[in-house]
């Protein structure tokens, strides 16, 4: 399951949380949402923060480990 949770504050600022995506596809999805909000609804989002969630660090560690293992076996 992929989940996008957008929290809209009273002043209109937003916090968007993307979960359950594989690889960098969450970045593509965030860009898709940003472009749709701008082109269709005139909502211009100016990014003020970016936080990679723990899953990302784990994935990157796993990928690094796999790369290291592949490097050792070849």
């Amino acid at each position: 399951m992929r989940e996008v949770k957008v929290t809209v504050s009273p002043d209109g600022t937003t916090s968007s949380d993307f979960s359950g995506f594989v690889g960098p596809s969450c970045l593509d999805e965030a860009e898709r949402l940003r472009q749709l909000l701008a082109s269709r609804y005139g909502i211009v989002l100016q990014q003020t923060g970016f936080t990679a969630k723990p899953e990302l660090s784990q994935q990157e560690s796993q990928q690094q480990g796999q790369r290291t293992q592949r490097g050792q076996t070849t």
């Binding site: 949770k5 009273p10 209109g12 990014q47 970016f50 990302l56």
Partner: protein
Amino acid sequence: MSHIVEAKTAIVQPDTALLHQAATLVAQQHAGTLETFYLDYYGKRHSAPLAIHIPELRRGIGIKVDETTGELTFVGDSWGVVAMYQQVQQEILQTYVSLATMQALQQMGYSTQALDGEQGQVVIQGVTYA
């Protein structure tokens, strides 16, 4: 991969139908009405494409799109009712962004729902199993 993005919002050339819907919802929450004018301090009418009138804001707030910049703007006389005037502006902005986000996520194939968050926040949740 998962991440969180925080962003400030500006509205330029808003969707007219969705803005009308947002204003309608806010008016209903305050037992108010939608009109096409607002009043100045002297009671003189000024036309606006859309205006919200609620019991706490008898002069109303006009909702316009700036002809030069395309930005969503609010016009009216807030004398004596500054806090409520600002609150209603924020509610219109928040409702518009929330409705737009729901529609955008639905267009992207998500099933959506709106939830009440903390401190007056609105949480739009979209899920997909595709």
